[in-house]
Amino acid sequence: MKVTRRDLLVWSAGAAAGLLATPVPWKVLDDVSIWSQNWPWIPQPTRGPVEVKQSFCTLCPKACGLRVRMAAGWAVGVAGSSTHPISRGALCPLAFAAHQLNWHPLRLRSVRHGASRSTWAEAQAAFAKASKEGPLVVIDGYPGRAASSVLESFAEKQGGSYRVFAPAELRALASYERWTGIPAASLGYDLENANTVISFGAPLLDGWGTPGRFTRLWAERAAGMRDPQLRLIQIDSSLSRTAARAWQWVEIREGSESASALASGLAGALHEQNLVPAHSPVPSMTLAESAAQTGMSVERIRELARLVVAKTPALVIARDDDPAVAALNVLLGSLGKRGGIVRHSEQVKPYVAAESVIGSARAVLIDASVPWDFVPQTDAEIFRFAAWDGGGTKPDWLLPAPGFLEDLMDLPTAPGCSVLTYGIAPALVKATSEVQSAAQFLCSLDGSLPTTAKIIDSRCQTVFRRREGSVYAQEIFEMAKFTSVQTFKEQLLKGAVWAGEPTASPEFHCLLKKWPNPARAVAAESWATEWRAPVMPPLASKLYQESGLRESLSRRNA
């Protein structure tokens, strides 16, 4: 039979039509689409046995307890540790993606000198030369750590100065340090026993202090209750997150002057209605002046004064260092009292604030714990440690520091906490590049300095010898149960936290006789602005961008 061109065409058309009636083309189409959705270069999660380790968040001084899920040596998930007595399983939102930060595109991976790359050896030589030539200033953003001791010791040996960039919670306690002589770092807020909390703009429900501490208390004792056990009165110029959830929101004019004026007005109203002892300081500002400055009515201020003392103990919290607001606690007798400002330690030294004038320093060393936004005003040569490059003003030397959980670190008491705590965060993940902490850098320059690990050993011994407090692990152990410092330290290295006993501190001797003048208060609005790292986890940037839940954080890099 002769096959013609026409036969071929008919056969091809028939085959094509017939093929459509079979599942083959659809199966091929489906397979192609699945295959193209799963390209071999699409990233896949790390495989390996998963284990959960207890540790702490080291990204800011709030020291929240963490449960870190690990796979093949990498952190693959973060959750709050419910065994931590202060954070109680809660974290700030950013911490849930903190394990991604080590891979952030802006992660610093090499030493930089100006705009060019350099080496650790060159940085050491330059720093050694500068610190010999003239005064040295060392700035720490997370005081009280073992690493802080190294920084302080080095500064002292060089005849330099050790300064601290304190978080807002600590700055808000500075007035009490001036009036009582007790260092702010050894004071804390006894929130657990307060029945009324009056917040002058402090973001109590938005990351103030250890994020879980107040939010958990508020959820248990106030949320959704018409007459809550814990009355939260929020004084704010706008409906902040805390104001939106507070028992009462008091709206005042914008600006720190308004807060100080309201504090003075409240003090005047308390005196006028004989609600506080007559011998306590009286502000010179009249109620009418206060009302004019705050935009409130005189009667509203009087009513607020009655509310403040209606359910004691009452505790006033400023969002930054504001002496007029702090003086309200003196008036209310809340210093050294249960449910007020308490002292948790007697062994803390006062710090010199980093914001103080630096003067004629030759070199300034900035630890990675100092927020990137803090730039000292000086002509000195700046050696800045950082895990991420925040952009903007560049220091002379930019030195790559360990990232999230890449370094052994101890965790002293969080700012504003009412009991002493101590924990150790081991290096759970290996560093992905050649990094050094400021303490390691200084120890390599001066061999006589004790290493962080040695200081942690010695601190464990000190805490062990006190024989008081408890260790919070999967269960709570009394200190008496530990027979050796070694077993105690082992527990801490596994993520347990030691917490001291709440102190029954005597009432402070307070030197405040005259109502203080108002001071400027530059405040953090929430954890997002208090976030120490100059970058946010990419996931946070994405979610805020897509949800509109948070205002744009333009100064933060995505």
Partner: protein, 249 residues
């Protein structure tokens, strides 16, 4: 024995911190793609702000986490899916999405009354090395399919594996908690078995303060909310006279 997993979200406790959103995205390996926008990004859990519409000191705001409501009856997404890529799991009550079957037609997105479904427009990508931080229990999401909350189904699998290894058929309820409920710093998200009358969450769902969004549609969502505030409860039915006075923030 079958369960009916669901949640009761206490709106009065929600401070709008966003921890639940972060934990959800991290748990489910949601990529942070710079090209994604509010319309095109994946947010299986989205916290929305609402207000009572007042001005001054009487203004109140609340935050409402929105996610798949896991509708029990006449589940809209199940009914419209031409691929049978969505189904209500009879054993758990979870509305399951099977990405391998999904052809990306997005009918389900249109049908969902809660706008709780998202289309995955792009291949997942992370900065170099960040894939090491992904959750190994959850596969990365493929392009071209619809995504939504599955009540952290991978965690249910882990709980079932653990129970199986111990020779048990039933999971320990403490072993299965979605990431959002675990992360909430105020314990506003309560997760449990709504089918078990003794479960505290089931009792809470029947309290007078509890409500469901768009309950009049009759889809019986398994996500309940509760609030002592009448203006918040009025949000449940946007066509109701009370809700007309309520403004979205």
């Amino acid at each position: 024995m079958s369960a009916r997993y669901g949640m009761v979200i206490d709106v009065d406790r929600c401070t709008g911190c966003g921890s639940c959103m972060m934990a959800c995205a991290a748990e489910n390996n949601v990529p942070a793609l710079p090209q994604a926008s509010a319309r095109t990004g994946l947010t299986p859990l989205l916290v929305r702000k609402v207000s009572n519409g007042n001005v001054g000191e009487t203004r109140r705001e609340a935050f409402i986490p929105i996610m798949c409501m896991h509708c029990e009856h006449d589940t809209p997404c199940v009914k419209v899916c031409p691929q049978q890529a969505v189904e209500v799991d009879e054993a758990t009550g979870i509305v399951m999405q099977m990405p391998q079957r999904c052809l990306g037609c997005r009918y389900c997105m249109t049908a969902c009354p809660y706008h709780a479904r998202y289309f995955n427009w792009w291949d997942p990508a992370w900065p170099p090395g960040m894939e090491k931080s992904l959750n190994p229990g959850v596969a990365v999401r493929m392009r071209g399919v619809v995504e939504k909350c599955n009540l952290c189904h991978a965690r249910l699998h882990s709980a079932q594996e653990k129970a199986g290894a111990a020779g048990k058929r039933e999971i320990n309820p403490a072993d299965y908690l979605p990431a959002c409920a675990e992360a909430c710093p105020t314990n506003a998200i309560h997760f449990g078995d709504l089918g078990n009358a003794n479960d505290p969450v089931s009792k809470e769902a029947h309290s007078t303060q509890a409500f469901r969004l768009l309950a009049r549609l009759g889809t019986e969502p398994k996500l309940y909310y509760k609030s002592n505030e009448a203006w918040v409860r009025a949000l449940a039915e946007p066509d109701s006279p009370q809700a007309s006075e309520v403004q979205r923030g």
